[in-house]
């Protein structure tokens, strides 16, 4: 795991020769993904379609957890991993990723052109986008006295929302509302800017119900919270009275990607799986079932967006958001920020 010579990433290294006609039935696949992020029957279907000997799906709850697994040992046993863009970037810089052999993934052609111009991996050299979206304020239209339009509505909640607000604590998304409200970049590594953001976050803390990265939707539904910081897909806008707003100060563009591990012994099968997932029929499943937009033009065209869904948002709008990238050494500043904010009583 601890490779000190990581700075010259895998892209520079010569790509392994892969055989387009490899006998996939001798290969099996181990995938790690968020719970509920792929169709239940994906393993069987993929196994049948790709004629691989076995497809097993393991789960991780957060990017961090996936990172721990993937970086811990030389061979994690995982072939394909789903992680967010900046984590794919970090994995690549550690030399842990296999470059994507585009010739083995013809379905890349189905992607929006914008989807290959993402700042963490221009040209999809080592990652293939799976879903994308943004971060905003998810709220109960029946319980708010005024519709939130600014990150400040979350950071300095009015009296009626006091202690009925949640924010995310995964570090980059903890800082996001404050950074945006102050007009800074979400990728800033300037100490003064981060310090200002911290002040703002500390002011906000006493008015929070809790920090919550995963179950904020539940809290809204139950009415414990009236406004929460949320990723678009997890804002249950299909429910009555729940709405999503991107604050006027702007927000991010996040992308969840698929990557192939360099340690994989089943690289041909891994490419085949990614290609299979990019099939419009399969890929549209994600949009329809988990409410996240997919960067797949052909797939999105098939999707019938249910009422209240945010799936109608166009890629161009999304691209207005700032793409989060890995900050390398400077990312510890965000860990520290998160510690400082949560530790304060």
């Amino acid at each position: 795991g601890e490779s000190s010579n990581s700075s010259d990433g895998a892209t520079a290294a010569a790509a392994e020769q892969l055989k387009p006609n490899a006998d996939l039935s001798k290969q099996s696949l181990q995938v790690t993904v968020w719970d509920g992020y792929t169709p239940k029957e994906l393993p069987e279907k993929a196994k049948e379609k790709l004629k691989v000997s076995e497809v097993k799906v393991g789960l991780h709850a957060t990017n961090e957890e996936a990172m721990a697994k993937l970086t811990a040992s030389g061979d994690s046993g995982i072939d394909v991993a789903f992680v967010s863009g900046q984590y794919a970037q970090a994995l690549n810089e550690q030399g842990l990723l296999e470059p994507i052999h585009a010739e083995l993934v013809p379905n890349l052609a189905n992607l929006f052109p914008e989807a290959s111009q993402l700042s963490y991996d221009k040209g999809n050299k080592y990652s293939v986008p799976y879903t994308w979206g943004t971060t905003g304020i998810c709220y109960r239209s029946d319980l708010v006295k005024s519709v939130p339009t600014s990150w400040n509505d979350l950071l300095k909640p009015p009296a009626w929302a006091d202690k009925k607000v949640t924010m995310m604590t995964t570090e980059r998304w903890l800082a996001l509302p404050a950074l945006k409200s102050l007009g800074f970049s979400v990728n800033t590594d300037k100490d003064e800017e981060i310090a200002k953001a911290k002040e703002l976050l500390l002011e906000a803390k006493p008015h929070l119900l809790a920090y919550d990265d995963t179950t904020f939707g539940e809290k809204l539904k139950s009415g414990e919270a009236v406004m929460v910081e949320a990723w678009d897909g997890w804002c249950p806008t299909t429910e009555k009275n729940i709405k999503f707003a991107v604050p006027k100060e702007g927000s991010d563009l996040w992308v969840d990607t698929m990557v192939i591990m360099k340690s994989s012994k089943n690289k041909e099968a891994a490419h085949a799986l990614i290609n299979y997932i990019l099939d419009p029929e399969i890929h549209s499943w994600a949009a329809e079932n988990i409410n996240y937009k997919v960067p797949n033009k052909a797939a999105m065209e098939r999707v019938k967006a249910p009422e209240g869904s945010l799936l109608g948002v166009k890629p161009a709008e999304l691209l207005a958001g700032e793409s989060i990238i890995d900050l390398g050494q400077a990312s510890t500043k965000y860990t520290r920020l998160s510690s400082e904010v949560t530790a304060q009583s």
Partner: protein, 288 residues
């Protein structure tokens, strides 16, 4: 003559050596490989640097320790200490009488009562913690019950108190079991002798049962204190991440910041705190 005198003690020592070897070597080997070597690695990481994308760069630095004495981190350690100590104290206060009574039940009930203490463990830690959210949250059962009485709703969740409740709930059985084991083996005649000498039930407890069960008390306190001190799931789930403990810090270094050296340094600090506590405890036990 001379050789005899020399030969005498040897075989007994050999017997003891053999016994020591048979009994001790399997466990000690296990401990060395899976505990000491890993801890050695962790320890060594404290003086190295974080790689740009995680991992360890084997270049000496004392920076990790400089960061450690930051009041921010010391404050979190203090917080954790306080929460864990409070949890342990409450666990002892309700766990002891429970263990004491279980030890005196007729043997049929004894097993049942004992098993009933561990049974909740057999569901699942996360589910059990979640059950508390169901009970205590804004629209949860307690508040709706109170609501029917025209009270509340109260903010029962996401405080330090909730964290203590969750820790207590999770680790109380770890207090009861060793206490039970220690109390159960006491000769009942000692309690009788004490009563006979005029001691009330409480005095007998204080003067006879309690001192003789001190090893169990020590073990129980340790078993509750330690997992409470290093916990990070409960502060997150029941504390709404508003109060964090050392566990959260360490977990974050390993999973979020991917700063293994600093994470190792925090872990070392946590170990150091426990070692100090253990020494104090051993000292107190010797004085008692």
């Amino acid at each position: 003559m001379k050789s005899e005198a020399k030969a005498r003690p040897a075989p007994r020592v050999r017997g003891r050596r053999l016994g020591a070897f048979v009994f001790l070597s399997p466990g000690l080997t296990y401990l060395v490989v899976l505990l000491l070597v890993p801890l050695g690695l962790v320890l060594s990481y404290t003086v190295f640097q974080r790689g740009r994308f995680g991992g360890v760069v084997y270049e000496f630095t004392t920076e990790n320790f400089t960061r450690l004495i930051d009041p921010l981190y010391l404050g979190v350690v203090g917080n954790s200490l306080r929460i864990a100590a409070l949890t342990t104290l409450i666990a002892l206060l309700i766990g002891y009488p429970t263990a004491y009574l279980i030890a005196q039940l007729p043997s049929k009930w004894k097993t049942l009562a004992l098993v009933a203490v561990v049974l909740p463990f057999w569901t699942n830690f996360i589910i059990r913690v979640y059950a508390w959210i169901m009970l205590l949250s804004g629209p949860g059962l307690v508040n709706s019950a109170l609501g029917k009485l025209g009270l509340g709703p109260y903010e029962l969740l996401y405080h330090e108190g909730t964290i203590v409740t969750g820790l207590l709930y999770s680790y109380l059985p770890l207090m009861v079991l060793p206490l039970y084991s220690a109390i159960e083996r006491l000769d009942p005649q000692l309690r009788e002798a004490s009563a006979n000498l005029g001691a009330s039930a409480f005095t007998t407890f204080r003067k006879v049962t309690l001192p003789l069960s001190v090893p169990g008390v020590m073990t129980g306190c340790l078993f509750v204190f330690v997992p409470s001190f290093g916990n990070f799931v409960i502060p997150e789930m029941l504390g709404g991440s508003k109060t964090i403990m050392v566990g959260n810090l360490i977990r974050d270094q390993f999973l979020k910041a991917r700063d293994w050296p600093f994470g190792s340094t925090l872990a070392l600090a946590l170990i150091a705190v426990l070692v100090v506590l253990l020494i104090v405890q051993a000292w107190a036990a010797r004085r008692a």
